[in-house]
Each structure stands twice: as C-alpha cells, then as structure tokens.
C-alpha cells in the first residue's frame, strides 16, 4: 500500500516537472532604479521579460548609482556575476569589458539589426569596444534642461525668461521677493553637471567637444571657456541660499515656488509629474538653457556578464532582444520620463517637455555626454572642483579655471 502511494507521489512530481515551462530560466538583473517612477518603469521591463517564458529576478540596489556601481562591480570581479546589470552607457564598465568579464553581444545585435534601429548612432558607439557590442542602451537621459517655476516668476513680478541670460537678469527681482533664484543641491555631481550644461549652452557645442572630447587643456584655460566660468560664477551666486542636499529636494524648491529654477536632467520631470504639475502651466522647461538647443545622449544601458551556465546565457540573449523591443521601449520610457532609443516608435502620450526633447533628437542636435567622454577618475576630480567652487565664494573664477585646465590636461 505504502509503496503504491510513494510511487504515485513520485509519478506526480515527475509529471509536474514535465508540465512546467521548459525554458523558464531565472535571471537576476541589478539596477539602481528605486524611486516611485523608476520602479514602475522597471516593472515594465520585468513584465516583458517574464512574458518570454523566463523569470526576471529583481536585484534593485537602493542609493543611486554611486552606491550601486561599486556593489555591482565587486560582484562581477569577485566571481558572483548577476545575469544582467544596469550601467550608464559610456565608460563605467569599460575596464570590465577589457578584462573579458562581459559578454559580447555582437551576434544578437546583428540579428536584431541594432545598427539600423538605434538612434542616435552614438549610443551604440559607446557600447562598442574593439568593434564588438557589449551593451544594450535602453533610454536617453539628457542633462540640458532648465526647469522654471512659473509661480515664482509671477510672485517676483518679472516675465518668464526665455533663456539663461534673461534668467540671470531676473535674479535680483527673485531675490527681492525672497526666492532663491537657482536651486543647486549640495551633492557634488549636481554642481559639476550644472557646469557641463553651461559649457554646452553658453560655450556652444564646439567648445564642449573641444574640452571634453579633444581634452585641449590650452583651450580650457582660454577665453572661450572663461566665459563659461563667468556664467558658472553667476550660477553660484544665484544658488548660494539653496541649503538642501539631494537633487529632488532642490527640484521640490522649484515645484513649491521657493526657487526660481534648476538646472537638472530630464529625470526631474518625474518629480513634477508626481506633484501633479503641468508642463507649460505650472512649470516651464528650456532645453539647452534656451541658448543652444542640443541634448546629450547619456542614459542607461544593460550589460551582460559572461556566464558559464548555457541556459542563463540563452536567457541573456532573450533579455537583450526584449529590452530593444519597440513595445517595451514605449512602455518603459513613458514611465521613466526618458526618451526611447529607437526612432521608429510612437510616443503620442508624451508631455510637452518630452516632445521638445524628441524634436531636438529628430533634428539630430545631439552631443555625447561626459559619461561617454571622460573616465570616472576625471569625472570625480571635476566633481571635487565644482562642489568646492559652488560652496566657496572666495574661490576666484581664474583659480577655478586654472584647476579645471589642469584636470583636462591629465584627463583620460
């Protein structure tokens, strides 16, 4: 009797095993998208991947890229690689690729004709090392935005500025009304990013590329860049009463009308949306600070560590294809507030600011971003310099420019 029961139980287990989905492979994906809007966007990716019969194991790491990247890198170098991981596309994972720890995706890319669909082309270029493709770009985030609070300008009784120069001119009126003209949070990357935006907007595209791409130290010490430092000096004077740390706290100052504006990437838009603000009515966005309408093509990409497990390697290919699928791209980017990496998708439900971004993208007015041009080491030195410059009024423009030129001279 007992024997029979056991056999039956055994048979049932076997049957269950057979009945289950044959190709269900768990794939752990690490990323640092943990805020409300970001988590909703990741859920779209997970849904799309699960629909292929595999299983997305979410490995979110809280605390922004700066905290998450060291963890991801030490897992990959320490021999415990995940199935796939987020990085900003550019040079963050360069050395991991060179050390042979990352998977070559060229076959998948050729099959999916990535070179034809991914736009702008520079995105795929920054995934390419030595002629091979190592990552899948999933979105475009651009830094070049000035977010203005309509309410603050109304209160101060000055018309809404159309570009950076008008904004600077309006600063005294804002200050008189008890409003901080420009919100810049205390985190180092914010002041450094704001300078890069000024460099591209006030200095122009050529200046930006000459400094960061050609790394021309003499030029960086010259009068063209000097003009940008004057603008940065204006910015730090306008920002001196900010007294907040995090970027979203600074954005919140703009949302509540305590600050006139903020130079921040398009991810700030998510905050305005969560607060129920409407683009054009409650807040205004000026791409390229209204001076030079370009957007940089930084953003996020997924990298795939080299795995020994054949099933998981197969699942990696499926995930790579899924990420670039037009449907996934739309669903993900609408929630994320970023621009899709394919030109052939329909984004009718995008808001005003996103449409401005799409129009600039369609015109091809794009520049590569510092993540793609500079090593993390040079980026960090730049952050140290600008966080000091913004916090220390007694540091002169000339001194800052000289140190900036030194960083560019030794940049790699």
């Amino acid at each position: 009797m007992r024997y029979k029961v056991l056999t039956a139980a055994f048979a049932a287990t076997v049957a269950l095993n057979v009945a289950g989905p044959a190709a269900a492979t768990d794939l752990e994906v690490t990323h640092w998208w943990t805020s409300g809007g970001e988590a909703a966007a990741v859920a779209e990716l997970a849904k799309a991947f699960d629909a292929t019969g595999n299983h997305w194991v979410d490995g979110a790491i809280a605390g922004s890229g700066g905290t998450a990247r060291p963890i991801m890198i030490s897992r990959i170098t320490g021999g415990d690689p995940m199935g796939a991981t987020q990085f900003n596309h550019g040079r963050q994972a360069e050395e991991l690729v060179q050390a042979g720890l990352m998977r070559d995706l060229t076959d998948v890319a050729t099959k999916g004709k990535w070179t034809e669909v991914v736009r702008p082309k520079s995105l795929l270029d920054s995934c390419t090392i030595g002629g091979k493709i190592y990552c899948v770009p999933v979105n475009i985030h651009s830094w070049q935005w000035l977010w203005l609070s309509n309410e603050a300008f109304q209160k101060a009784g000055v018309p809404l500025p159309k570009d950076w120069n008008e904004f600077v001119a309006a600063a005294p009126a804002l200050e008189k009304a008890g409003i901080v003209p420009l919100a810049v949070g205390g985190q180092a990357w914010q002041s450094s990013g704001a300078f890069d935006v000024l460099l591209a907007a006030v200095g122009g595209t050529d200046t930006f590329l000459k400094v960061y791409k050609d790394k021309d130290a003499k030029f960086a010490a010259g009068p063209e860049v000097g003009k940008v430092f004057k603008a940065a000096d204006d910015a730090r004077k306008m920002a001196k009463n900010t007294n907040v740390q995090d970027w979203n706290q600074a954005t919140n100052m703009v949302i509540t009308g305590k600050a006139g504006g903020q130079i921040m990437g398009d991810w700030a838009q998510g905050e305005f949306q969560v607060a129920g603000k409407v683009a054009g009515k409650d807040y205004t966005c000026l791409p390229g600070l209204g001076l030079n309408e370009v957007i940089a093509t930084g953003g996020d990409a997924f990298y795939f560590p080299l795995l020994k497990d054949a099933d998981k390697s197969k699942a990696q290919e499926v995930l790579a294809e899924t990420l670039l699928d037009p449907k996934t791209q739309v669903a993900f980017n609408l929630k994320k507030g970023s621009l899709p990496v394919r030109g052939d998708v329909d984004l009718n439900s995008a808001n005003d600011c996103m449409k401005k971004g799409l129009a600039i993208l369609a015109k091809g007015a794009v520049i590569p971003w510092t993540d793609q041009l500079l090593s993390q080491d040079s980026q960090k030195q730049k952050e140290d310099l600008f966080s000091e410059f913004f916090a220390k009024p007694e540091m002169t423009v000339e001194e800052a420019q000289k140190r900036f030129a030194d960083i560019i001279a030794s940049a790699d």
Partner: protein, 297 residues
Amino acid sequence: MSKSERPNQIFRNLNAKIASIPMVLTALVVFVGGTAWTVLYSFTNSKLLPRLNFVGLDQYYRLWATPRWLVSIENLLIYGVLSLVFSLVIGFLLAALLDQKIRFEDTFRTIFLYPFALSFIVTGLVWQWLLNPDFGVQSVVRALGWTSFSFDPLYNSSIVIYGILIAALWQGTGLIMCLMLAGLRGIDEDIWKAARVDGIPTWKTYLFIIIPMMRPVFITTLVIIASGIVKVYDLVVAQTSGGPGIASEVPAKYVYDYMFFAQNLGQGFAASTMMLLSVMIVIVPWAYLEFGGRKRG
C-alpha cells in the same frame, strides 16, 4: 637533563599556541599581507582592477597636489586635536562630578552614556537636523524672538568641521566618562583621606595625585579616542557628505571615493598608505617609549 628540556620550550603551553594559530595567520595574511599588497599597488596605475604597472611615485605626487586631500588632512588635524582635548577634558570633568557621591548617579551615567549606543550614522543624521538652519537650533531660537540669531555650521565652509566635532563629542564623551569613572573608582579611598589630612585642596589632589595615578586609564582612553579619529568617516558621510563643497572632507572618505567612485585604485591605495604612515608616525615613538623604555628601566 638540559637536552630533554630544550624541545619542551617549544611545546610548552602547546594548547595555547595551537589555539592562537588562526589569529596569528589572520594577522599575518590579512593585516600584514593586506597592508603590503596595498602599499605595493599604490606604486601602480591600477584603475578599476589591480594591475602591476608601476609608475613610481606618480600617485603620491598627484595626491599631494590635490586640494581635496590637503583639505582632508587639515580637517583631520583640527578634528583630531580638538576631539582629543575636549573628549578627555569633558569626560574627566563629568566623571569627577559624578564621583562626588551625588544622588541619582546611575541615572546621570545612563543619560551621558546613551548617545554611545547610537551609531555614527544615526548621530550624524540627528545632528544634521539639529544644525539645519530651517529646522534646528537656529529656527528654535529665532522663534523665541531673537530673529537675527544665526547658527548654521553645516552650511558654512569655514566652521563646518566644528559642527561635526559637536556631534562626535556628544556621541563619544559618555564612554570616556565611564572609563574615567572606573579609573577614579580604582583609586584607594585612603589616598583621599591622606590628602585631606594634609590639607591639600580637592582640585590640587585631582591634578597632582589622582590624574598621575590614573595613567593606565588615560593611555587606554587615548588609544580608543585616537583610533576613532583616524577612521572617522561615517559621521561625515551622514552629516554633510563632505560638504559644503569639499569643506568637511576627511582622508578615509577620500580613499573610499577614489577607490570606488572614481575607479582609481592606485590613487586610493596611495591615500590609504599615507594614512597608515601618519598613524605609524604617532604610534611608533609612543610604543617605543611605552614598552621599550620600561624594559630598560
């Protein structure tokens, strides 16, 4: 006879020796080995991954030409000296006051020691709020009527390190007080009686008799405070993250940032080697005097 005793020397206390092998190995491999490895790689241009590509003293030249490193060193000096002096003075004064056979001694001791139960991260966050001009001390005093009162150390580059010092003292003096109190309780009652008979005033007794007698306690305390100073990191991260600008950076944070954020291991190793060197400069002469001197005497 002596022949049979010789090998016994090695096998004497065999159990103890075997038991200490894991620790000896840990010390050799992890501490000494890790240190040697770090120093070796500080002469290379390793970026994200360690690579043996020697560049001589380049990392050190760059380190000492970096304003942020110089600010860090200056901060560590200010923080270190003041934290050492104030912890000892306040800790000792509190202990001496508690030692006057006051009522509710246990209660006071608990209150003073409580902050020590909090981690530096929590301490840092608490004091970040307390010192925030919009929510903390400044706004309370202003709400009481002194509207021109200004107290915002964390947003003022030139005094931010003192804002951190306040938090560190609040957290750490309780422990120093307890150590001192234990030391005071270890002093024989008869000493006090003898001093009183001789008509020596209390403060003089403390200064010239009790404190010299408490030398071992002071040394323990010094080591505890000093090690806390060199490794200060989490408090700064929680309270200011090095800001405003780079005004409250400390060496340990420089090491971490350059190793992991900047992906420049060589630079981080060079900085940590300098930290090791500075500790050695303090420790070696002291250890020599403390242990070497005694043997001769």
